[in-house]
């Protein structure tokens, strides 16, 4: 039973770190990196805690649905991240002080 609390605390900590990152980071691309932080361990910790508690209550249908929601978020989040990052680059969003930019060298923006 304490395991559920520990898992939820881990999830809450990483969600907090991701939120602070989204509010503080200097440019759009770094904000995307922090939002990935929310979507991976911030949700996975709390959802695994809820999954263990549902098994403890012997509610199998609910447990399977929670596990499926977790897998769904994990599988679909990188697709959205990839699409929005490419769209931001094609749209010409300014990135601050890039150290090296291979993509802009190989595919110049019009």
């Amino acid at each position: 039973m304490y395991l559920v609390y520990i898992l939820m605390a881990i999830g809450l900590f990483f969600a907090f770190a991701g939120t602070v990152g989204v509010l503080r980071m200097p440019d759009a691309y770094c904000r995307m990196q922090s939002s990935t932080n929310i979507a991976t361990l911030g949700t996975l910790g709390a959802l695994l805690g809820a999954f263990l508690y549902a098994i403890y209550l012997k509610n199998t249908g609910m447990a399977i649905k929670i596990l499926f929601i977790a897998v769904f978020i994990i599988v679909t989040n990188p697709v959205a991240g990839h699409a929005i990052c490419k769209a931001a680059y094609k749209r010409g969003v300014k990135a601050e002080k890039l150290t090296c930019d291979d993509y802009g060298r190989d595919f110049p923006n019009e």
Binding site: A15, T19, M62, A80, A88
Partner: protein, 84 residues
Amino acid sequence: MIGFVIVSILYIILAIALLYRVFKGPHAVDRVVAGDSVDILTVVALVLFSVYSGRGIYLDIALSIAILGIIGTLLISKYLEGKL
């Protein structure tokens, strides 16, 4: 078990903090990224509340919010890229 309600309220507070970035973001991309994160945090809060109250209906709502969130993000990014 009252702990689930407290944790889900904390998640909602984090989502409200993210709304600052949605309103202020200098570019549309920032707003979309912050909105996607708000979606995911809402899904987690709904799942925790569903486990607390023992009703399965909140899980279905959480699942549909997750599906609609990903579709919205993909649509807006395709539109910004100019392929729609």
